[in-house]
Amino acid sequence: MIEASETVARGARIRTDRSHDGDRSGRARAVIAALVAGLLAAGLVGLTSGASDASVARLIADMWSAAPLDEMVHQRDRLIIMDIRLPRVILGMLVGAALAVAGAAMQGLFRNPLADPGLVGVSSGAGLGAVSVIVLGHGALAPLTALLGILALPAAAFAGALATTWMLYRVATRRGRTSVATMLLAGLAFSALAMAMTGMLIFIADDGQLRDFTFWQLGSLAGATWQKIAVAGPVIGLSLAATGIIARGLNRLALGEAAAIHLGTNVQRLKRISIAAVSASVGTAVAASGGIGFVGIIVPHLLRLAIGPDNRYLLPASALLGAGLLVVADAFARTLAEPAELPIGIVTAIAGAPVFLWILLRQRSVVDL
């Protein structure tokens, strides 16, 4: 369980400030302040990197001077930065924050550091919705694609995510009480079913559809537009705000459901808000950008090491770090294979998987969870 040397080392580190023994709130506030600065820096990186040589500095300089040196260049820079890179950076922040906070909330709700938004069926449902539109968009679902145009795919992904979560919630709720254990197990069954149906659609898909679906699955922020932000922003923003209400309840839930009730938490309400916030924000994120893995597990994990598991700090810090990381990952995705773009899911998985393993190996001996 615990190795003696580790225990001593950790004890010594925590006890540097004796008057606040075991109180990590000061450190948490400092980390959050640093994350705000980091997010701004990440945003700047996102605005300045890309296949074109458009320069933020030149754009700003041109805006201030009465007559730009070269009107053509100015207009091009403006277009690239304001209408391509900026929406992309903002959407990246929204998606990153949504995925990371959803991960932290799910881990709190399931009382397990390995829980993931996928556990409530969001990912498999969204995948099924997406593949349905890609494969059947010109066949059985033609009226839908005719009606919604390019929005048909994100709308179907969102609907799939929400429908799966809702069914899962209904299955796991009896007499007004939701069993998270049942939800976890039923989630496995639902995922298997959704994946089988996805597999069936893939089986009848042609090569072009197959390629479209594969790319959707790998995730990308390339389709970011101000319209997408106008839709995704409020949903994700509201969900993030809702997690502010549940932070204290999630802390108490770490003691177990009965203890949380004894401490005055309405546990059923807590579960409902968590599940609704997670499925709405992740459904939106997946609809906007496809499948982007690992953010929801890595970000809360790293932060728990730095500031501890108190959700009042962990949730906002996760939002900030998730947002920053995704923007940086997207900057890499755009520039690593210039002028082509890597799917961002590849970048997050390549960077995320080794970090995740490293955390596991490092933590294994300290607290066996």
Binding site: M1, R10, G22, R111, N112, A254, L255, A258, G264
Partner: protein, 260 residues
């Protein structure tokens, strides 16, 4: 002040406890004893608001089933049997969970350290909960519970401590220390309802004893009224003799023999 009448709990088709009428007055330590599986923890579940029940269970005159979790949490705190914690919280963070946000920072200051001192864990605030032994974890939880009902009386109304086997994994010194904390809480006007297995500690600390057997109330009264040879055999199925001392060469130690 806790009073139940005709209290029953059924899980599925199975009746766990039935027709329990007990009282735990303010200013007293009330013990619940009984064999394993006699329904002690189920009774606690009903009184603490986590299990649905039939009949009546009242805290300070309020029916438990009609109290919201938030309302109930200001009237009583519950110490569960030893439990695991999901994430690496420090001891201070765990104890702080007992303090309501509604309380003024001025009232909260220093409470965690004082609570840890009362359960003899001074200097443990910076340790990880998971690093502690079972007995230490149990005392951390008690410190958290004490933080929740810090004043034994609020606005003339008693607060209640519900303790489910608070000394089950403690050494003898800490068994006595924790039972002293319970007694002080009662002497200051609070209400203490405690599940115990140790009949000697029960005799030493309880003002009132309720004995459960197979989901029914078998006896109620003061320790001397209840702890009889006849009852012990009937309830525990064990032929024991109250007040019998072993032969001179066999050592035995009673908590009552402790010197202050």
């Amino acid at each position: 002040m806790i009073i139940t009448g005709g209290l029953g709990v059924a899980i599925g088709q199975k009746t766990i406890i039935a027709d329990i009428g007990i009282e735990a007055p303010a200013g007293a330590v009330t013990a619940i004893v009984g064999p394993n599986g006699s329904g002690k923890s189920t009774l606690f579940g009903a009184i603490s608001g986590t299990l649905a029940y039939s009949g009546s269970a009242r805290i300070n005159g309020h029916e438990v089933a009609r109290l919201s979790p938030a309302q109930a949490s200001t009237m009583r705190a519950v110490l569960p049997q030893a439990m695991a914690l999901a994430f690496p919280f420090t001891v201070r963070e765990v104890v702080q969970l007992g303090i309501s946000d509604a309380e003024k920072p001025r009232d909260r200051a220093g409470r965690v350290d004082e609570a840890l001192r009362r359960v003899d864990l001074t200097g443990f605030a910076g340790r990880y909960y998971q690093e502690l032994s079972g007995g230490e974890q149990q005392r951390v939880q008690l410190a958290r519970v004490l933080c929740q009902v810090w004043e034994p009386k609020v606005g003339g109304q008693p607060c209640s401590l519900l303790l489910d086997e608070p000394v089950s994994s403690l050494d003898i010194r800490h068994q006595l220390a924790i039972m002293e904390v319970a007694r002080e809480f009662a002497e200051a006007g609070g209400c203490v309802l405690v599940i115990l297995h140790d009949l000697n500690l029960t005799a030493m600390y309880a003002d009132l004893v309720h004995v459960l057997s197979r989901g029914q109330l078998a006896a109620s009264g003061t320790p001397s009224e209840v702890l009889t040879d006849e009852l012990l055999e009937r309830v525990f199925g064990c032929r024991l003799k109250v007040g019998s001392v072993p032969p001179p060469h066999v050592p035995f130690v009673l908590p009552q023999s402790v010197r202050p």
